[in-house]
């Protein structure tokens, strides 16, 4: 009998878990819809801005071959100091979402270490912070709360600070790592080289070949404003993208968990019925044999 009770208790607890995971899935799918809409709307803007800045970078490289004097565009072939900004979620229970990002950051860390490059980590999101703290790896920035609710102003403030350290020469390169949203079932790790703006990997596909005129015509006013906007918006967009990916990852993980719980309840039910049958049979045998002996 004790076994029966045990199984019944287990079924109850699995059913409870199933309810929780199902609720979390529903919440995530609702949130995903909202975030996806937000991402969709800002994607065009981010893409156009990137397109523009890359084209400028390209033209600058072509116009003067001996090197570019603008600090944001200069080419640093062997960076000695690299800042890695990475975005993880504040919460877990979203499958491999956070660990994928952490894995990539770790890989970058060891890659740079092999090349004898000094790396500073700037973490956004509690899960990443927890991981690196637990492993005693120093973080130069820890931001909690931004990845769960992307706010343009806060994102801009943060990245401006990072960019300032680049301008000051404290760092030679800024890399942005986040797990991005591809569609409802796929997430993809994205690694952006934020600064210096990199044009070397681009193919020259511009339609127009004429000289690029810039207004106001002292180069720096426009470029500085544009680059500032570019990094701010890229940061903000990465946060939104990461949030959308987090929700889709959580939705998937919770969907799988709900399905697993369902399976488990099914198995436990079979087990329970078998045990019950067994108990009844034993009881019957006892009664019958008792009657037999009284004859």
């Amino acid at each position: 009998m004790a076994n029966l009770k045990e199984i019944k208790r287990k079924i109850g607890s699995v059913k409870n878990t199933q309810k929780t995971t199902n609720a979390m899935k529903l919440v995530s799918s609702a949130k995903l819809k909202r975030t996806e809409e937000l991402a969709k709307r800002s994607r065009v803007y981010a893409a156009k801005l990137t397109e523009l800045i890359e084209e400028i970078a390209q033209k600058m490289q072509h116009s003067n071959a001996e090197g570019i004097d603008n600090v944001y565009f200069k080419d640093i072939p062997n960076p000695k100091k690299v800042d890695i900004v990475f975005i993880t979620a504040d919460k877990g229970l979203c499958g491999g979402f956070n660990s994928q990002t952490i894995k990539r950051v770790n890989q970058l860390l060891s890659d740079y270490k092999a090349k004898d490059v000094k790396v500073r980590l700037r973490a956004i999101g509690r899960k990443g912070i927890d991981y690196f703290k637990f492993n005693n790896i120093e973080l130069s920035d820890e931001i909690i709360g931004l990845s769960a609710a992307p706010d343009f102003k806060q994102a801009a403030e943060f990245i401006t600070e990072v960019a300032e350290s680049y301008v000051n020469g404290e760092t030679d390169k800024i890399v942005l790592v986040h797990n991005g949203y591809v569609n409802m079932i796929t997430q993809e790790i994205k690694e952006d080289h934020l600064l210096p703006v990199d044009a070397s990997e681009l193919e020259l596909n511009t339609v127009s070949t004429s000289e690029l005129e810039v207004e106001p015509d002292d180069d720096d006013t426009l470029l500085d404003a544009l680059v500032k906007r570019y990094i701010e918006y890229t940061m903000y967009y990465s946060l939104i993208d990461s949030l959308a990916a987090e929700h889709s990852a959580r939705m998937q993980a919770m969907d799988a968990a709900t399905k697993n719980a369902k399976e488990m309840v099914k198995d436990l039910n079979v087990k329970y019925n078998k045990a019950r049958q067994e108990a009844i049979t034993t009881e019957l045998i006892e009664i019958i044999s008792g009657m037999e002996s009284m004859k």
Partner: protein
């Protein structure tokens, strides 16, 4: 009449995408007009009003707070931070004008630029 492609993009998505005859932009160094086959140009945009002359000759005005423009021979792309279109149905117009004024006021750069932009918005409002 030749036409060129015009795109206006804001953080909230694309608000204009189509063929136009001419577009007037509030550049940082002063207002300038762009016709098809304009030389390649990148410029900062100030608070002001973008006036678009569409293929059928009708005019559309869009109030913006700030942004950038990339002009190419066949295509002009405006990347702006905030924008309100001042056109459309009679009922929406009043609200759009109010929105436009609020948007312009929110950009606290230079008062004269905003004042001129606001007066322009009002003028456009009357002409509809």
């Amino acid at each position: 009449m030749e036409l060129m492609k015009l795109e206006i993009v804001t953080p909230n998505g694309m608000i204009f995408d189509g063929e136009v005859k001419q577009v007037t932009l509030p550049g940082a160094e002063g207002e300038f007009g762009v016709l098809p086959k304009h030389a390649t140009l990148v410029s900062l945009l100030d608070t002001g009003v973008i006036v678009i002359e569409k293929a059928d000759g009708s005019e559309v005005a869009v109030a913006i707070n700030s942004g950038y423009v990339k002009v190419e021979e066949e295509k002009t792309t405006c990347i702006v931070d905030g924008a309100v279109a001042i056109s459309g149905e009679e009922s929406d117009l009043a609200k759009a004008l109010e929105d436009a004024k609020a948007l312009l006021k929110s950009a606290e750069t230079s008062n004269t630029a905003i004042a001129s932009a606001v007066s322009k918005v009002e003028q456009i409002g009357k002409s509809f």
